[in-house]
Amino acid sequence: MNEFELIQQLRSGDEQAFKFLVETYQDMVFNTALGIVQNAEDAEDVAQEVFIKVFRSIDTFKGESKLSTWIYRITTSSALDLVRGKKSKKRFAFLQRLFGDGNEPLHEVPDFHHPGVALDQKENAARLFKAIDQLPESQKIAFTLHKLESLSYQEISEIMRTSVSAVESLMHRARQNLKKILEKETE
């Protein structure tokens, strides 16, 4: 089934077409979400939301980009929404502790271990993911898509709706920021 046929069948609500879509893109969506949210359960939640959004809004897909580009866009946006939501819950909980009895223990988020990292790199990768989590959103997206999905700057620029030079700049700044964060930890 080519992309055009797939989209037509999705628009008509064809369940087999939807199953084909999910099976084709589920790893891509899950891996991308995982890199951003850094938690397998959350990544699965995000992945489910992505496919539900794709199913419900397939009529709005104009075909100006590839289907995968559109799905990447929805994935990164949904993943960032979840991260933002978690961070604001953390802030609220912190304020509660400030103004409440403050007896609840602070929960440290465990290190994230990506299943695809080689054993000898696990510790380094965990430190890197922690640092990635502190990057500004656009740098985080560009770096994650490049490193985890092996996307080219051209592909990333289409997903992020920006120029290739802007992506180069984001990557450069991401690396600079990551270095600063990692060197600060080492001191």
Partner: protein, 109 residues
Amino acid sequence: MPKEINSKTEQILNSLDNIKKAEAPDFFFTRLKARMEEEQGFIQRKKWFLQPAYAVTMLILLLAINALILFHRNKNDINTNVANIENDSSQTITSAYNMNDNLLYDINP
């Protein structure tokens, strides 16, 4: 020492090179489908009041209540107006002739 930190930092920055892509969990589609069916059922149950029969009944009820309130308000307004007119006329006569209310009632048995 700074050279060592740089070297260590570079190692960490390169730790994701040759990373394998994570795969979606087993039975992902099954769980997704179950979630979509549950959400669809929830939406259908929530929207019962939007069905035409219920919506029309609610509208008629609302209009009837409004009409009742307006009717009662008009009735009360008429009674209030009559009382006000009687009071006004007695006060007018009283003030015109510099009389008090008791004197007015003496004149008008």
